[in-house]
Amino acid sequence: MKKVLLLLSMVALMPSGAGVLAAPAAAAPGLIEQAEAARKEADALGFEWRDTSKLIKSAKEALDKGQKEESDKLASLALLQSKAAIAQAKSTAKNWKMMIPK
């Protein structure tokens, strides 16, 4: 989780300046790939959220159109959703028995 936050804050801090520091396309595909990997993990647990793959698709489309900022935003959201879904899967696996109404 710490890594994700770090990554997200880095992305948030650099959107406009990134082009000067590195090849502009390099950061965005990384984010999309991470989102996709996390989505797959959530899916394997059976807990993927409804809109995550649509977000990733839109992030890819935005990148193809050169809208890097928009792409980053969508991919970060997809990544956050997937991380939340994975956390949900784990907490549900641990706690579902306590959810049975008496």
């Binding site: 899916d43 059976g46 807990f47 993927e48 959220w49 409804r50 809109d51 995550t52 793959s53 959703q81 949900q88 549900t92 696996a93 579902w96 028995k97 959810m99 049975i100 109404p101 008496k102």
Partner: protein
């Protein structure tokens, strides 16, 4: 508080010890574990709705709400699924390319709703009626029907119709069956999706209450009456289509028709309705 916990732990330990002493591990009585769950589950609704008769739970939300029930009774006078049952009958008897038909796969003229779902001990998985219909087609060189609605729902509707009144009595006889049951149970009580909600949250704790224009049905009786002709769909659909909709509504990615997840969920839900009668197909708003 502390005392009750201690007492519980003690009884727990005692139960465990007796189980260990009197029975080897392979002789666990899974049916008894499941029966205890059924009793608790049905007891929950008896306590919540003391005036509702047990057999009325087969009528879904209309068991709880008098006004909705009146409207529904009127709807059932000219059942919107009548044409689907007719179409399902024709499909059931229509010869495949090899001369056989769905009718060749099922005994009792297809009036077998009461035999499904069941746990197939050889294949170690839950078999639902819709799955059996498609397996019959594939075994005879035909393509399976696509999921959720259409011909699959129509054939299922016909078979449910000629099976009306058969009792729900799903058994859990093995460790493997119990595992599938527990998966369905975890699905039912587990929170998921963007709204972080469980089936039980809406269909137990909120049963009978309003959610926007709808009143939430009790989970007891959820699987008696499918497939359902739903006015909102404008057509007949399977139980798994309904599962898909409820998953989608809470922002969870739905599973496929006849996925293992939905079959296990159907297995669990049907067991919770043990003792009710199959009464499908049905009309819903």
């Amino acid at each position: 508080m502390k005392k009750t916990i201690q007492r519980r732990l003690l009884t727990g330990a005692l139960v465990l010890m007796t189980a260990l002493v009197t029975k080897p591990a392979h002789a666990v009585n899974y049916q008894a574990l499941v029966d205890a769950d059924v009793k608790k589950f049905q007891g929950y609704f008896r306590k919540e709705f003391p005036d509702v008769k047990f057999e009325d739970y087969g009528d879904g939300v209309y068991a709880l709400d008098e006004d909705a029930r009146k409207q529904w009774k009127e709807m059932e006078e000219f059942p919107p699924y009548e044409l689907d049952v007719e179409a399902g009958k024709a499909l059931f008897n229509k010869p495949f390319a090899n001369g056989k038909s769905l009718a060749s796969c099922f005994p009792n003229g297809g009036a077998v709703r009461g035999n499904y779902p069941y746990f197939d001990e050889k294949r170690k998985q839950v078999v639902t009626l819709e799955m059996a219909i498609n397996e019959c087609r594939v075994a005879n060189g035909e393509k399976p029907y696509p999921g959720f609605k259409g011909d699959l729902a129509k054939v299922s509707a016909y078979m449910a119709y000629i099976s009306r009144g058969q009792k729900i009595d799903v058994k859990v006889k093995s460790a493997a069956a119990y595992k599938a049951y527990m998966k369905g149970k975890a699905f039912f009580y587990g929170k998921r999706g963007q709204l972080n909600m469980s089936c039980s949250g809406c269909h137990m704790e909120y049963a009978g209450r309003h959610l926007r224009a709808e009143i939430m049905s009790p989970a007891l009786g959820h699987t008696t009456h499918f497939p359902v002709f739903r006015s909102k769909w404008g057509e007949i659909g399977t139980l798994h289509k309904r599962y898909e909709g409820c998953n989608d509504n809470i922002g969870a990615k739905p599973f496929e028709e006849q996925s293992e997840e939905y079959r296990d969920l159907e297995f669990f839900q049907t067991i919770m309705s043990n003792g009710l009668k199959f009464n499908g197909p049905a009309a819903r708003k």
